[in-house]
Amino acid sequence: MATPGCKDFQNNFESWMEGELPPDARAHVTDCRSCARLIEDLGSIRLAANEWNASEEPPARLWTSIRTQLVEEGLIHEPQSESAKAGWLQGWFPRLPRPVLAGAYLAALVAIAFSLVGPVTRRVNHHRWAEDMQNSTAMVSAQLDTAEQTTGFADFDPEATASLHQNLAIVDNYISLCEKSVQEDPEDEMARDYLYDAYHQKADLLAQISERGEYGR
């Protein structure tokens, strides 16, 4: 549960991510496992994102979407200034790859979603935990569906295109099966693990489908 310390920290953690480390913030992260974990997760995502070669900016809706999700989950709060509103996440991912990077941002979303859920032992209230899980998976699932609708198939190679369609259907089927298993027992780590993998696989496949249109023509 967020304490006043957590709220203060989260209101200003964009500065932290940009390298400003005030003593009181450092002290808070040292004491607060929740905030420390948040910083660690987002730092990992930023690091991974920076490793991708960038040539185009991701769509603005991506940032809006991620931010909205974090705000809804209560992990961050709307910044006070317009300038901060415009660029907080762009600052972390200064050279994120092209939107094909569907894989990139969806993977980030998946990571965030699952980090919100956390290990079973961190949640005392079963119902709240199950609800969080359902919300998180619904969000990721919706994002993947949106990405799928906006991803175009390059059809110059029918065999490859057919294979991509077929395998996308396979992954969708596994997502359905895993979601069902997770809904039946949200505490089952194995089912969650497989669901995470299936989401990740779909994001990766959508990225691959997008990238195919970039070469060969």
Binding site: S163, Q166, C178, R212, R217
Partner: protein, 293 residues
């Protein structure tokens, strides 16, 4: 240095003597396959990249410090770009126009490389075959199957629907697919990470001391063959499927920790001294741990 030779397939002067008059008589220029051969002098551990949408790619190692590329394109609707830059040879098939038919998009390559060459191959459909290359390798395909033989180094293979077979491979294997089957035969590797969704996985190789063997799928069979003298810690879990085991396992050695799932069919234990670590998992597939004949 390179020596380009643009010649129609099966070209020779005797054939030319027959073909040219024939063409002159008919007044037709064939839009047939075209063969291109190039040679590049390289130093130790050259890097060879191949980017081909559709076709068969065959790579073999030879003893020369040279990369030889023999390309056959289905039509002039694709452009073959084969260039050397320092100790790197880049091979790329380009589509010339948007109206090209799928059949005309195909280009096949036969490539000879030094044994220590590093390969980066991207082939959507067709097939990829690599033999006797000991350098690092990265292969990505969509529908194309991949076959490696007597390879080593850091091997990363990623397919969407293509199958994968590795015979007598060593080094570090990292393989992933969605619906491809994997066959890993006579493997001598201390790191195997293989993951497919709707595919079978067969591992029939050595379990080296301190080796890690991670095999995972959603559905399909995972089959591992072992010898009674092998030494490993084993974790096998199928969430909704079965685990069949022929190994005489003892409880895991102290200090070795496996994550025990709450549900599903699971098996944990050690054979002999538990020197290698084997982790097998499936969602609703069957896991078979079978004694080698």
């Amino acid at each position: 240095m390179n020596t380009p030779h643009y010649l129609p397939s099966q070209w020779n002067w005797k054939a030319a003597g027959l073909l040219v008059p024939g063409l002159l008589l008919c007044g037709v220029v064939p839009a047939s396959a075209e063969r291109l051969e190039k040679h590049f002098k390289v130093d130790a551990a050259p890097v060879v990249t191949i980017h081909n949408p559709d076709g068969v790619i065959t790579v073999r190692a030879w003893t020369k410090h040279e990369v030889m590329v023999v390309a056959n394109r289905a039509s002039s609707e694709v452009d073959l770009e084969i260039e050397q830059s320092g100790n790197r040879v880049d091979i790329m098939t380009h589509q010339v126009s948007d109206t090209v038919s799928p059949a005309d998009l195909r280009a096949d390559y036969e490539i000879s490389v030094p044994q220590d060459a590093e390969l980066q191959i991207h082939d959507d459909s067709g097939a990829v075959s690599v033999s006797n290359v000991l350098g690092d390798m990265n292969v990505e395909t969509v529908a194309a199957g991949v076959e490696l033989q007597d390879s080593a180094g850091y091997l990363t293979v990623k397919t969407v629907g293509g199958s994968f077979q590795c015979v007598r491979c060593a080094g570090h294997l990292d393989i992933s697919s969605i619906s491809g089957n994997f066959r890993l035969i006579d493997i001598h590797s201390n790191h195997v990470h293989a993951q497919t969704s709707k595919g079978n996985i067969l591992f029939d190789g050595e379990f080296l001391p301190n080796g890690n063997y991670f095999l995972r799928n959603y559905s399909g069979d995972i089959t591992v063959r072992f010898s009674p003298g092998d030494s490993f810690d084993l974790s096998a879990s199928s969430y909704k499927g079965k685990v069949n085991n022929q190994a005489q396992l003892t409880p895991p050695a102290q200090g070795h920790h496996f994550w025990h799932p709450k549900f599903g069919n699971s098996l944990f234990g050690s054979l002999n001294f538990g020197r290698a670590k084997i982790d097998l998992s499936s969602f609703d597939g069957t896991i078979n741990i079978l004694k080698r004949n």
